[in-house]
Assembly symmetry: C2
Homo-oligomer: 334 residues x 2
């Protein structure tokens, strides 16, 4: 049985979206058990599942604007903190939250704990490509600074993830850089390039540019947390702005445009779906002793369900266990 | 008379696009003079203007895959090099190229030369926002590494540009960061924040996130060259991929979708135009003693024309001259 601890009180639609996502996952998967941390009465309102599910009541929760590290230290009974402690104590195998990202990172680092020899866990998400296959990118912002050694660890972690969770054979690993030539970039990129090229366990394809990510230039894209965060937000922001512009242009385009949009609605829905990466699950704080997964604050029940499914695959493929072994006897390279 | 030196041999559609763009600009603006550097016979094929235009013949040109610094040093008679030398010698007031970006940066640094007290000229472009107003961002990749002091200089240069060339009063300057709170970012961002906040000549609005750029969160966005380059390419790549997906989805959607697209064609054209920033001109290598402007390698005559118009506005507003004065007695802060 795979035991998943859910912070039922985090996110814009808590606890409803969390509980309804759990209902659906429990129905679909008979090998999972869900622990819902939060206000019992509010959770019960939405809970339809009755088997393999437990509510662990608490009054306390972390707000979206709480200062992360302080919140984790001071709100010892918060739903997010209790879920992390359950993982730490071995009572749950993984955790999920739609709440305060910074606090979840802090809970991951300080409560769940890092895998031995992994210095800086990174935030990984599967982002969309035009082919529908997607690519995994990390670090998306768990860290503001990274060394070349961290980037090398991300390449290994990302490869494990793409292979184990998404079933990609020999994932093509690219280093995000400001040009494709091997000589490109700042000293960090040049050093990381050397480390990646020298590691025969990786299918390293060299430098990749942000322009080509959505075209599927690599299966795993390695970046420092600052740049990865900026690229992620650029992609999101551009997609949202373009779709918004298209909508505005249709609404302002009179009857002809509206009729056109109606005739095109299947195509427009396809486009919207191809950009919607919530079905690929949430962002994994990877490099910890257990899966700690953040789903978007605006997640609905479907996104929560997808994230539970993703966690289930992570547990089934034991991608974290494999990472522990890989790094357990890693040389202290740093 | 504003004298503009054009490298007629750089870019995918050289010399045709360059010459045709020049024809149009010469017709429209009676206060410009154009110098076309390149192969006389090929240029003459497209040249219709006869006044205020000169061809300076040369057989040599820089290829798109030439190693930049080497090309500038060894191909002393290349059209790009001669154009830069004309600026250096005071025979032209500005230059334009659609060729090898790296080589143009090198020509700018080594031939045209930096403004005194500006350490690292930055690449600036006006990028699109949904409102149509646009924002200026720098550095977009002239440098792989920057200090906080450079970022401060970019804020001043970007403000000058937005105000002088685009007519934005008190341009709102934002620092690209991984969160909006003042405490966010790596040491570089924290130090830059302090410098920007302390400079009362700037309308500094704090940190901005890449997600909000297209929504027009700031008029000037300051970034280090590595991140700026990644963000620019993410925006471009996402826009191209989405428009490509939309097209594919329409073409694969049968008769109904095609009819819909036909009815929607005005709206779709509006959308495409709002994303097309070639009409805002090219990328300025800003911080040099004269305007050195790069237009996209794929530029057509219209994009070249827009870039000449932009250069004319830069010369008319004397934005470079103002920068020279601003920095001439700047304290050696570094």
């Amino acid at each position: 049985m795979k035991r998943i601890a859910i912070d039922a009180m985090g996110g814009d639609h808590a606890p409803q979206a969390l509980v309804e996502g759990a209902n659906r996952a429990l129905q679909e998967f008979s090998d999972i058990e869900i622990q819902l941390y939060g206000d019992e009465a509010s959770i019960k309102k939405y809970l339809t599942a009755s088997e393999r599910v437990r509510i662990i009541h608490t009054d306390e929760k972390i707000a979206s604007d709480d200062e992360p590290t302080k919140a984790i230290r001071q709100k010892k009974q918060a739903s997010m903190v209790l879920a992390a402690k359950a993982v730490k104590a071995g009572e749950a195998d993984a955790m999920l939250s739609a709440g305060n990202t910074g606090a979840l990172l802090a809970a991951g680092f300080f409560i769940v704990g890092r895998i031995k020899n992994i210095d800086r866990p990174g935030l990984l998400s599967t982002l969309p490509t035009v082919s529908g296959q997607g690519f995994d990118m990390l670090d998306l912002g768990a860290n503001a600074e990274n060394t070349a050694h961290h980037l090398h660890q991300y390449a290994t972690l990302g490869s494990f993830y793409a292979e184990s969770v998404r079933g990609v054979a020999k994932p093509r690993v690219g280093l995000l850089n400001n040009g494709t030539e091997s000589s490109k970039g700042d000293p960090l990129r040049k050093e990381a390039y050397e480390l990646l090229a020298a590691d025969s366990s990786l299918n390293f394809i060299g430098n990749v540019e942000a322009r080509d990510l959505m075209e599927g230039v690599a299966d795993v894209v390695v970046a420092d947390g600052f740049t990865g965060n900026a690229v992620l937000k650029s992609i999101e922001g551009t997609a949202i702005s373009i779709m918004g512009q298209l909508k505005k242009s249709i609404l302002g385009g009179g009857l002809k445009a509206k009729l056109g949009a109606w005739l095109l609605k299947d195509s427009l829905r396809d486009l919207k779906n191809s950009l919607d990466y919530s079905s690929a699950g949430g962002a994994v704080l990877f490099g910890l002793k257990a899966p700690v997964v953040k789903t978007h604050g605006s997640s609905d029940a479907k996104a929560v369900y997808s994230t539970i499914r993703q966690i289930r695959t992570m547990l089934e493929s034991d991608v974290v266990g494999k990472s522990v072994i890989e790094f357990s006897d890693a040389k202290e390279e740093k």
